[in-house]
Amino acid sequence: MSFVLIRDLKVAFDGVQVLHGIDLEIAPGEAVGLVGESGCGKSVTWLAALGLLPGKAQVRGSVMIEGRELIGAPRAQVEAVRGARIAMIFQDPSSSLNPVHRVGRQICESLRLHRGLRGAAARSQAIALMDMVGIPSAATRIDLYPHEFSGGQCQRLLIAMALAGKPDLLVADEPTTALDATIQAQILDLLSNLRRQTGMAMVFISHDLGAVSAVCDRAAVMYAGRIVEQNDIGRLFDAPRHPYTRGLFDAIPDLDAGRARLHPVPGTVPDPRKLPRGCAFSARCAAASGLCQDHQPELRPQRQGGLLACFHPAQEPAARRQEMLA
């Protein structure tokens, strides 16, 4: 049974729909990537699920956690899920910690909330958590303020705070985007080690396909508020079938390739206020037909495994990539 079950999740801001019915399941202990470019709705999906969107957002659909509905549930019920069952960390670590409170106090706050620890017990547990996420000399640095830590360390502190509630699922929203390359590598390493140690599930939201493939078992590709393709990491990367997924792969320069010309996806992401009637990608898609312009392809299970929303998927997926690498 899945731990989180999202069905037909829709979000609109001021009447502009940005999420057009997301279906997603997260099994216990599983690591799922959510990939897409800015504005595709990958973060909004989880902010909506946890009720973290501003009040003007209209959220419809269903998010069930172990069979209990979160959308429309009383505030206290949603608050009881946040941090305890599902924890979330964000893109900009330095501004995601409260600047006026000591970091120890912020971690202890979670420990009090979720484990009922107070005083010395909470403090020693907070130090243990800081050790666990790799903050050197935690015992002396627990009383420092966030601005006295680097960006990478702030992300570690946020991870420590997320772990305080022993969550079943950690949603990491672009956790490494704001960090330097070598620090990104550290954080990815930390996240995947922690997952091995705790057995928690993880949702890894990122535009960095490489990072997603490194830490996830499965990934969903989003475009303009919809999931367009979903598959195991191996299959998705070896044989991307949606033209957008393939476009994304081809657009990224390869460190091992030479100075070959890149293959960009033509055009730009559509304005959510002026989405085409049919497939949102049709205007940028080389394979698009009249059908694509008028009808919305549904996300359907495929014979070869995975889910796909495309009328004209790539048939021989591996061939072109191999040819490119050659």
Binding site: E79, A87, M88, H101, L113
Partner: protein, 309 residues
């Protein structure tokens, strides 16, 4: 720390010195006290005697140096009118002014800040719009208009409250109301926008994602951050405790500093005017120092060197 305190203190003293020098020069250039105090028909020898008595015949720079020497000895001069010590005159009036400004400040803080915060937490609601409208009303109406309207309504028409004077606590109600309404509006507006700004910060989302109840998110995470800009504004208001009542005291014939300054300026009673300005400048500078320390207490990023780094 002592060095930090010393620089702060030295800077404050310099500010006061600049204010006093400016006031000294402007006052001397803007009219002859002898003419004003003795009247236009005064005999010439009386005027001459007066000028000699107060050193007004010396060159300006000599007068200025003499004044500085006096200041350094904590001698604030005597009133040209009745020869009583200027500082004494001023200090006698301070309690009356504070009797208006302190309660008014309390009202501003106790009504303005909560109203602004409430509006920010209930954005776009009826209460929010109400707060915005009332605060615009509050700070667009000048206090001399508001004061007169209040007098007209509550003193003249309804006859509930006295129109002026100082003879019991109820005489203070209308002046305090006149003074606080504008400040409440400004503070509400300001607190609202400070709070809205803070509520949009990533660390608020983190606090929510942690599972903290909304009440704790607001009280423990949003308010301490919103306090920083609000304290700046309150600091200004504290600085204006002594000087901020000139208009209102005049409307309600309240015997405070404001009235004293009006009378003294009209009479060119230089020592008294200068002494008032000194007290006002000192109170502003003190308030500024307090704000600086409050910053440090509220926001660790604004403290000097970070310990343990």
């Amino acid at each position: 720390m002592p060095r930090f305190l010393l620089t702060k203190f030295a800077r404050a003293m310099l500010t006061i010195l600049l204010v006093m020098s400016f006031a000294f020069i402007v006052l001397r250039l803007s009219g002859d006290p002898a003419q004003v105090l003795l009247g236009p028909d005064a005999p010439q020898d009386a005027v001459d005697a007066f000028r000699a008595r107060w050193g007004l015949n010396d060159p300006l720079w000599q007068q200025y140096l003499a004044y500085l020497r006096q200041l350094a000895a904590f001698d604030f001069g005597v009133s040209m009118r009745d020869h009583s010590p200027a500082l004494q005159l001023v200090m006698d009036r301070v309690p009356a002014t504070l009797a208006l400004t302190v309660p008014a400040l309390m009202l501003k803080i106790c009504i303005g800040i909560p109203a602004g915060v409430y509006a920010a937490l209930h954005r776009e609601s009826v209460a929010d719009r109400g707060v915005i409208m009332l605060s615009i009303f509050g700070f667009t109406i000048p206090s001399f208009v508001l004061g007169l309207v209040l007098v007209l309504v509550f003193a003249v028409k309804l006859d509930w409250l006295p129109a002026g004077g100082q003879d019991g606590w109820h005489y203070a109600i209308l002046p305090i109301a006149t003074m606080s309404i504008g400040g409440i509006g400004i503070l509400a507006r300001f607190s609202r926008s400070a709070m809205i700004e803070v509520l949009g910060q990533p660390y608020i989302r983190t606090a929510m994602a942690k599972g903290l109840p909304w009440r704790d998110v607001v009280w423990k995470h949003a308010l301490p951050n919103a306090a920083v800009p609000i304290v700046t504004l309150v600091g200004f208001m504290v600085g204006a405790l002594i000087a901020g009542a000139v208009v209102v005291e005049s409307i309600f014939s309240w015997p405070g500093i404001g009235r004293l300054i009006v009378v003294s300026v009209a009479n060119r009673d230089l020592a008294v005017v200068q002494c008032i300005l000194l007290v006002i400048a000192a109170s502003m500078v003190m308030a500024n120092l307090l704000v600086d320390f409050a910053y440090g207490a509220l926001d660790p990023r604004l403290r000097g060197a970070a310990p343990g780094r």
